[in-house]
Symmetry: C2
Subunit: 252 residues, 2 copies
Amino acid sequence: MTDPDPMLPLLWRGLVDQPAAAPKRGPKQKVSVDEVVDAGVEVADTEGLAALSMRGLAQRLGLGAMSLYTYVPGRDELVVLMVDQVLGRGDRPTLPADVRRRLELVAETALADYLAHPWLLEVAGLRAWLGPHAADRYEWQLTAVDGLGLGDVEMDQTVALLDGIAATTARAVQEVRAAERRSGLTELQWWEANADALGEAMAGRDYPLAGRVGQAAGELYQAATDPDRQFRFGLARIVDGLLVHLDREKSR
Amino acid sequence: MTDPDPMLPLLWRGLVDQPAAAPKRGPKQKVSVDEVVDAGVEVADTEGLAALSMRGLAQRLGLGAMSLYTYVPGRDELVVLMVDQVLGRGDRPTLPADVRRRLELVAETALADYLAHPWLLEVAGLRAWLGPHAADRYEWQLTAVDGLGLGDVEMDQTVALLDGIAATTARAVQEVRAAERRSGLTELQWWEANADALGEAMAGRDYPLAGRVGQAAGELYQAATDPDRQFRFGLARIVDGLLVHLDREKSR
DNA sequence: TTCATCCTCGTACAACGTACGGAATTGGAG
DNA sequence: CTCCAATTCCGTACGTTGTACGAGGATGAA
């Protein structure tokens, strides 16, 4: 009915449209789409997604700003290509037999992806775009939860759940880093510098639990949050819950 | 040692610094910080966070653009204030006795917050800033997981886990909406329009599981994703896991 | 009445994505 | 060999953004 999405040929470039893909007339391109995307990934990895500008990227590639638009329709589309590109770079370990380790591995692998490329968390619509590497990754995630007794739909939901806690954890890590960059203080330093002001602000208000829990957490974490501990706790609960679910289904 | 954070007095405005807070000389302010923040929330709720510009907001308030900076240090800081503001608006239901319902309620309440104000998900330092309403909310969340036999630190981690799945779910909802806005097509329409192109692109590649699971999920969801079902499945597994954990701890 | 203090806001600047159109380059057709 | 259509490259320009700066006006204490 409607036009096909122009992003699909770009995402699957080189794997589709082999016939009549290259233009026959006109000058050669100075670089390639892959080089553009890789350069974008490098900028985003080192300076953050916000620092990725079309002008800057063009300069890095020895191009005029507007030349980029012959490779990529626009900045948003470039980012989509970057996402698929880095999803193909992560390790995809061979799967152990132990079910618990298998499930944990899905989350741990996703976490490694997000920590290696934190800007993935800033781009919305991750699941919406199906590029070749995203598809490979999804396929790998599904194999990890295959043969456990889950239904097809539940396999999808399980992968989403495990990927979700990885993303949440990576976000927590990223928030701490961002806060430290902004204030120039480590988390601990910030709390020390602002403990008085905060205590004064909260005076007259009752936070019995938050006060107690915050203190206990602060002493253990030596910070306000501890993403790593949160990940391990949350993942343990999720896997426990999944195993319970598997047992229940099996004995039906 | 270092200077206290200038955001704290702003976040806790009206609750601290009652003496000598108002300036004595000079003209009165045309509006109030609360009006500015509320107007910002209104814009973000209806048009999205990206549509919130200082100029636009000032005009809406009958102010010159630069006058906003006498109320708020900058756009980022305004957003922080907006976050705390809306966190004080959500329902905080009375807690049922049943443990499962209690845990579910924490996640469901958080989900309602995120769905009502999707731009919360775009704010990077959501958890970093402790304003009065964020503190109230955290205290309420802790009361929901209090008295279940969890340790102090585990209470914090449990709340984070439940809040996390709510955020993940709300993000999934938001991503679907964003994709539909961008393409002008509903998810189903997009898949119909692009099924051929995708099939051609993926030809020659093997996605046995993704193909099977995708089809099963698509038929059930009538879409590529179903955030609501994912939420219910994930939450059920998490609560199962938490209950298992509580049992184990109790019998030690 | 004077003056320090605070608010208001016009102007200006740098940076952004990108629309537009001309110049340059290429390969196939005649 | 010539010519032309196709394609890439890129300088210029527009609109939009956050906000630095400083002039002007309003206010209340001295």
